[in-house]
């Protein structure tokens, strides 16, 4: 096979092999609970502020645009429905993704890449310790859990932000706003949104660990690996988003 096509294909195969190894290590006992808690706390800490800073303008932007639309068709009172729908089905998961892969996964990748360069990973292997069980599993789980929780936070902030914006700046009736919230968005939409966020967190964690473990070379390669983490995580997440959105709509429609 020509190298131009072979290199990326081999990387994809390696990645799936890595995912399989991680899945196996996940069910094998000693579980690194301490590392898991540390990592979850770390990812939550680096993600929290950017999440707040990004969620507020993003939801205001979406509400603003949707309200223009609703106002035009004479349905400004439905803006609550639009806000809840936008925040829970799309904005929540997407902001969560961007932050978890932009903040959490990059930090994981930088950390793992630095360990690889300093040959700590090789040292672990020599000592007979599986880096996947010791390092990767807790990180992937932590990133999944944090994404799940951040999604709830983003949805809450999103609805609050759109309430303030719609009611105080765009003169929507507050009662109508609250009344509309549950019109299109129910329990099943929330669950799909949480499922999306969890999947996104898991993928971002897996991609970050995989690329971090495969770094070779100097400082530039760690930077490049982090760069690739962001790009690949985003690409994977957008594809998964379309698929889960379509599936979710089918499931809730039944």
């Amino acid at each position: 096979m020509s190298t131009a096509a072979g290199v990326p294909l081999r990387a994809v195969g390696d990645f799936f092999g890595f995912v399989a190894q991680t899945a196996r290590a996940l069910v094998r006992p000693p579980f690194q609970a301490r590392e898991f808690v540390d990592q979850a706390w770390f990812i939550a800490r680096v993600s929290l502020v950017p999440t707040l800073l990004m969620a507020v303008p993003f939801t205001v932007l979406v509400t603003f645009t949707l309200n223009i639309l609703l106002h035009e068709i004479g349905a400004a009172d439905l803006s609550g429905a639009g806000a809840a729908f936008g925040a829970v089905t799309q904005v929540g998961p997407i902001v969560t993704v961007l932050i978890v892969s932009g903040a959490g996964a990059t930090a994981i990748c930088a950390d793992m890449g630095a360990r690889t360069i300093r040959e700590e990973i090789d040292a672990m292997r020599v000592l007979g310790i599986s880096p996947i069980q010791r390092l990767v599993v807790p990180r992937v789980l932590a990133s999944t859990l944090v994404a799940l929780m951040l999604n709830g936070l983003v949805c809450t902030i999103g609805i609050l932000g759109s309430y303030v914006f719609s009611v105080y700046l765009q003169d929507v009736n507050p009662g109508a706003f609250i009344d509309g919230l549950t019109l299109l968005t129910g329990f099943s939409e929330l669950m799909i949104s949480e499922l999306k966020a969890a999947m996104f967190g898991m993928i971002a964690g897996l991609v970050a660990c995989f690329l971090g473990l495969n770094v070779s070379g100097g400082p530039k390669s760690v930077g490049a690996a982090v760069n690739q983490t962001v790009v690949f995580a985003f690409m994977a997440l957008f594809v998964v988003n379309v698929v889960i959105t379509a599936l979710g709509i089918k499931i809730t429609a039944v």
Binding site: A4, V7, P8, A11, V46, P50, L53, M54, P57, F58, V60, L61, V62, F64, T65, I68, L69, H71, E72, I73, F85, T89, Q90, L98, I99, G102, A103, T106, A107, C109, A110, D111, G113, A114, I117, L184, G218, P219, K220, S221, V222, G223, A224, A225, V226, N227, Q228, V230, V231, F234, M235, F238, V239, N241, V242, T245, A246, I249, A253
Partner: protein, 290 residues
């Protein structure tokens, strides 16, 4: 005089360590803002100088920024990645729009929904995100690696002013590359929306195209290009700053890339919001009667 004030400060710090530490942290945060501002100002002011004196470097960077480096170039570079992201975003909007408009029996308007949301929100935001992830992060990684392997110091030693040569050229390259890149990206998002609606949900293409072209306003498109252009400048500035001042070896470079990505994600959304509010705020300028 100055000495006595220093001792006073030392005494104060010894007596009220917590307050002194807090004060130091606040003043440090203010210093950081100033550092950013000075860096951005210089990088912009040196722009013309960079174009005149480092023309070849600028052209090289334009090529590199457009195609990407390393493993990213193998899968087709920035062009393909941005197109990919916006295409799937357009697809998601069509899926979501088709089902929610279908709930109230007007799924015929999916074309309108796609033209409206893609141009006003999804296109600029996703393009900005793609920009930060590909070009921006690459820029931080490159500059950071130069910093920690002391190449930037070497440049200064050879009396090449590093800021215009490294940073201003990158900002200009980003500005130039973004226009064709965004043209492709927004086309991809339109294509994604149309493909899902027509070929997957089976709406008639004529119906989709009718509502799509009726409500696609050229002025909105021009503003959306403006948004992306501003974003390109902001993203390149933020990412160059974190790369230019990276420290702490290989880990430091990775950490800098992460920090820069986080900062520019926030900046991208904020820029979109501010420009949207400024442009569409007073007059929504949407005429549904067509």
């Amino acid at each position: 005089m100055a000495a006595s004030r220093e001792t006073e400060a030392a005494v104060f710090a010894a007596r009220f360590p917590k307050t002194a530490r807090r004060g130091k942290r606040v003043s440090g945060a203010i210093d950081t803002i100033g550092d950013h501002a000075i860096f951005y100002f210089k990088a912009l002011v040196y722009g013309p100088r960079a174009v005149m004196h480092a023309r070849r470097e600028t052209v090289r960077l334009i090529a590199e920024v457009g195609m990407g480096t390393g493993a990213l170039a193998i899968i087709g570079g920035t062009v393909v990645i941005m197109g990919f992201l916006t295409m799937f975003a357009g697809g998601t909007i069509a899926v979501q729009g088709f089902s929610s408009l279908g709930n109230i029996g007007i799924e015929a308007l999916t074309g309108f929904f796609s033209a409206f949301i893609n141009v006003r929100i999804a296109g600029p935001v996703i393009a900005g995100v793609g920009l930060a992830a590909t070009i921006g992060a690459g820029c931080t990684a490159e500059l950071g690696a130069m910093r920690v392997s002391e190449e930037i110091d070497a440049l200064e030693t050879m009396a090449v002013p590093s800021l215009p040569y490294l940073v201003s050229t990158r900002v200009i390259a980003g500005m130039i590359v973004i226009l064709p890149l965004y043209s492709l990206a927004i086309m991809a998002s339109f294509f994604g929306g149309r493909f899902v609606t027509v070929h997957i949900y089976g709406q008639s293409p004529g119906l989709y195209d009718h509502y799509f072209t009726t409500f696609l306003r050229p002025v909105d498109l021009i503003w959306s290009f403006g948004q992306v252009l501003v974003m390109a400048i902001v993203v390149m500035l933020i990412h160059s700053y974190y790369g230019y001042y990276a420290s702490g070896g290989p880990v430091g470079v990775g950490v800098a890339v992460g920090k820069a990505t986080r900062a520019s994600l926030v900046a991208v959304v904020t820029v979109t919001l501010i420009i949207s509010l400024a442009v569409y705020g007073s007059s929504p300028s949407l005429d549904l009667t067509g």
